[in-house]
Amino acid sequence: MVNHSVRVMRTALLGAIGTAVYLIETLIPFPLPFGRWGLSNFTVLAAAIAFGTREAVSVALVKSLLGSIFTGTFLGPVFFMSFFGNLTAAFAQGVAWKLRIFGIFGVSLIGSVVNNMVQVTAGRLILGSSAIFALLPYMLVLGSFGAFANALIVKRVWSHASSSGIIFSTSSKNVENDSSRFQSSESQDRGR
């Protein structure tokens, strides 16, 4: 089993990177006044693929909370839309990867679609009007481009990790291997 502090460290690192990208991407022009490219979601995608659903949801939680605090939207209507969208998307990506029928792009795309659909549904509940669904087609199309960009980033990270001899863990077996390697290096250190 993976050490609890390792899990916390991974979540904190990916959450911090995600929050930084979330803030920086507000500077990147987007064709529509609402929405964003969602590039910070590559951290959630990486967590879903490498470490599993639980850590993906944790990273999404950290990213949403810190991002909304820094942008000044915390606990506002927009916060609830993005918060529930991000969390369900992270869960969906974790589950989709476990199904073993999707590639990285497919998992990223599923996350984007779920995120957008949950966001407009939350918006429907907040606004009390289904007019917000008129924005969904634009969000889905632009979200597909964002999903592709995120998948490319994670693919690059995967390739780089593999060439560096790091296992980009994709199953519980690999996680266990990682853990045992971690323990064996610790015992070697103690032996010296």
Partner: protein, 123 residues
């Protein structure tokens, strides 16, 4: 089983095709920017204004002005919104079939596409 990090697999393409087909169907059956109609402004899900007459309509709730809706011919836009990011103002002008949404103020401005005309109805 060790998994290869394939960027694409066949099911990914299938999802992409479904998304773009659905969006294409939406645009085929939804008309924008042509014909005429009336604007419908709702706050918190309740319709507060329905009109086809040109003019500037302030949206006031509990004595607090949230924003102004400007109808100019077959175009409608939002001005002077109190929301922080002004996304509703940045949405610019929309024609019949279009919609402007201000999430922080919970205001929805719909340009209903129809041949009927409504003078002014306020609630």
């Amino acid at each position: 089983m060790k998994r290869t990090g394939n960027l694409f697999r066949i099911w990914d393409i299938a999802i992409l095709v479904v998304i773009f087909s659905t969006v294409a169907m939406f645009f085929c059956f939804h008309t924008y920017g042509e014909g005429s109609g009336y604007i419908e402004v709702s706050v918190n899900g309740e319709v507060v204004l329905k009109t086809s007459a040109d003019g500037v309509y302030p949206v006031v709730v509990n004595g607090k002005r949230l924003l102004s809706v400007v109808k100019d011919g077959e175009k409608v836009r939002v001005e002077d919104s109190t929301c922080p990011l002004k996304i509703c103002e940045k949405m610019g002008t929309v024609g019949p079939g279009g919609v402007i949404i201000c999430v922080p103020n919970k205001v929805v401005v719909k340009f209903v596409h129809t041949n009927e005309s409504v003078d002014v109805m306020t609630w």
